[in-house]
């Protein structure tokens, strides 16, 4: 199929390189910007080579943040984001694994009804139900808390649905063999279903972690105490400094730090993901 004509190869490479450059250039600019001295941005030209102030910019953001803009230290915001993203990810995985297990393997009254109920929540993301959800969270006194940040985002139809589809492809004989081998439902879940789902769990972990990490509207709404600011919403605060121009070199340092954890998660989980793909087989 593939023809090895030098000209078409060259063209293909050029297009691909242009694409990569297009995607990477903003990232490069952010990194470069985070190494500039204060005021470098106000001269009108965008610097294209790294400056010499990387360490001090990053240290300043990590340790003290932009107090004048009402942004706490990035270190703390990263921690908040991490807690929220992990709570959402693990919570979603646990709940969706269990509910998919129930829906696929147990016969209970209104099973189909509950499945559709879960399915319908797919159509109701946080943004749609944000006002009632805020009311509930406020009434429960969960504003400015990690519980308030994560719990309303945990209920997940997507993950439940994916696990349901996966469980339905697991041969029924495995369940029967396990029953003959004396494994009860929970033992079957723990010893057989979970190990078989590792690949799916890894893939969903990546997706859900990034979903949790990138939450912007919800944390913005329910946190007024800067101790609970997450990094994605905190950055927005930095750009709207009350007095004078935004300090872009510092904002960019925060941006780079905020982008790192999802990248690390993808890099780390990708290996596990691929490993799972090549090693398990039904």
């Amino acid at each position: 199929m593939v023809e090895h004509r030098p000209l078409s190869q060259l063209a293909a490479h050029l297009i691909l390189i242009a694409g990569v450059a297009l995607v990477l250039f903003p990232v490069y600019i952010a990194i470069v910007a985070s190494t500039q001295a204060p005021g470098e941005f106000l001269r009108g030209t965008l610097p294209l080579v790294p400056g010499g102030h990387a360490l001090e910019n990053y240290r300043a953001m990590w340790e003290s943040g932009l107090s004048r803009a009402g942004a706490p230290p990035v270190g703390q915001m990263l921690f908040n984001s991490l807690v929220m993203a992990l709570a959402i990810t693990l919570g979603k995985l646990a709940i969706s694994l269990l509910s998919a297990f129930a829906i696929v393997y147990f016969r209970f009254p209104f099973r189909l009804f509950f499945f559709w109920l879960i399915f319908v929540t797919l159509m109701l993301p946080v943004e749609v139900r944000i006002i009632p959800t805020f009311q509930v969270v406020a009434d429960l006194g969960m504003l400015n808390s990690f519980a308030g940040l994560s719990i309303p985002l945990i209920a997940s139809a997507t993950a439940t649905f994916l696990f349901r589809q996966f469980f339905m492809t697991v041969p029924e004989e495995l369940l029967e063999a396990a029953r003959v081998d004396g494994a009860g439902p929970l033992k079957f879940f723990k010893d057989i279903l979970l190990p078989l789902s590792v690949t799916n769990i890894a893939a969903l972990f990546v997706i859900l972690f990034i979903y949790g990490w990138n939450q912007y509207l919800w944390p913005l709404l329910i946190t007024t105490d800067s101790d609970y600011y997450t990094v994605v919403m905190g950055i927005q605060r930095m750009t709207t400094a009350a007095d004078g121009d935004p300090q872009w070199h510092l904002v960019m340092a925060a941006v780079v730090m905020a982008a790192l954890p999802p990248v690390l998660v993808i890099l780390f989980m990708q290996r596990l993901f691929v490993k799972g793909l090549t090693e398990t087989e039904k």
Binding site: P171, E173, G182
Partner: protein, 357 residues
């Protein structure tokens, strides 16, 4: 070890479909009983009810002295071998064998001892650290057997365990299963749709059709005296020829034939003849003679199959004969049948008539 007693077992699925319509069967301690029948005859459902994987709609099931109708599979003290092996794909062979024992709280030493003993018996020691997907079909089949073996259960249940193997391996494993069962003397219930497998494995054969038992007996009893038209055509390959009695009366070869057919029990209107019992040479005893045209000649090495059409009718008939007779397609052939080879049936009831021989 124990016997299995099945009394009036029925299975009705939600929606009213009856898969098993009242089965009575007793499998003696140490006996190897094979359930055979066409697909959809309820044989697998029956086995799964014994295993506890299907609920029992009516009737009673005893394993040993215990009534086990309501017990979970694990409490019935049975082990099952599945058609697609159902090995746990993420566990090593060792863990696959050990899983049932672990769940029953066996000590680690005991588990190791039993798994190794079973592995030695099945010659799979070398595969213990491997995962199922690294094994061939035959090896997986052995592991599945091993998983049943280590438990030392009261009964083995086999659900078409050989149908995923190729023909050669199937024969080999069949022999091994038989040897193993002889050695362990564990009560076994074995489901298959392959009549050759059924004939060769069974101490006693149960032929099922449409949720009911057609006939129970040793393989040779069933082969020699099929109780119904269904059994007659189902057991034996090629299938038994069924020829209307009227045809034989008019075309059977004169007075000898009339006398011979007169001897058949009252009510017979259809006669079964095994393909082996149509001879090309006239025997010394009194016999029938049928004329036919050879339509197709099939050489299968040690034996040949002749597909013929009986003269003056469109009755297709198969003859099995040793070696390769010098015949040509389109040729007119004569076949000789003795009285012993005639199986009298009644078309309406579908049953064998009377006794003979």
């Amino acid at each position: 070890m124990a016997s299995i007693r099945i009394e009036g077992l029925e299975k009705t699925y939600p929606g009213g479909v009856k898969a098993v319509k009242g089965i009575d069967l007793e499998v003696a301690d140490g006996e190897f009983v094979v359930l055979v029948g066409p697909s959809g005859c309820g044989k697998s459902t029956l086995l799964r009810m014994v295993a506890g994987l299907e609920t029992i709609s009516a009737g009673a099931l005893h394993i040993g002295e215990r009534r086990v109708n309501e017990l979970e599979p694990a409490q019935r003290d049975i082990a099952m071998v599945f058609q697609n092996y159902a090995l746990y794909p993420h566990m090593t062979v060792f863990d696959n064998l050990a899983y049932g024992l672990k769940n029953r709280g066996f000590k680690r030493d005991e588990i190791r001892r039993r798994v190794e003993a079973a592995a030695t018996m099945l010659e799979i020691e070398a595969f213990l650290p491997r995962k199922p997907r690294q094994l061939s079909g035959g090896q997986r089949q052995r592991v599945a057997m091993g998983r049943a073996l280590v438990r030392e259960p009261a009964a083995f249940l086999f659900d078409e365990p050989l149908s995923n193997l190729d023909a050669k391996l199937r024969v080999q494993m069949r022999v091994e299963i038989k040897k193993l069962q002889r050695r362990l003397k564990t009560t076994s219930l074995y489901v298959t749709h392959d009549q050759l497998e059924a004939m060769t494995l069974a101490d006693r054969l149960v032929v099922l059709n449409d949720g009911r038992i057609e006939q129970v007996g040793t393989p040779m009893e069933i082969y020699a005296r099929p109780a119904s038209l269904f059994v007659a055509t189902f057991i034996g390959s090629p299938a038994m020829n069924l020829i209307p009695l009227d045809y034989l009366h008019t075309n059977g070869g004169g007075d000898t034939a009339t006398a011979l057919l007169h001897d058949l029990p009252e009510g017979t209107d259809i006669v079964g003849i095994r393909p082996d019992d149509l001879h090309m040479r006239a025997p010394s005893e009194p016999h029938l003679v049928v004329e036919s045209t050879l339509e197709l000649f099939e050489a299968a090495g040690a034996e040949s199959h002749l597909y013929v059409c009986l003269a003056g009718s469109d009755q297709p008939t198969v003859i099995r004969t040793a070696g390769q007779p010098p015949v040509a397609e389109g040729e007119t052939l004569r076949f000789y049948v003795t009285r012993d080879a005639l199986h009298p049936f009644n078309r309406e009831s579908g049953k064998r008539i009377g006794d003979h021989g």
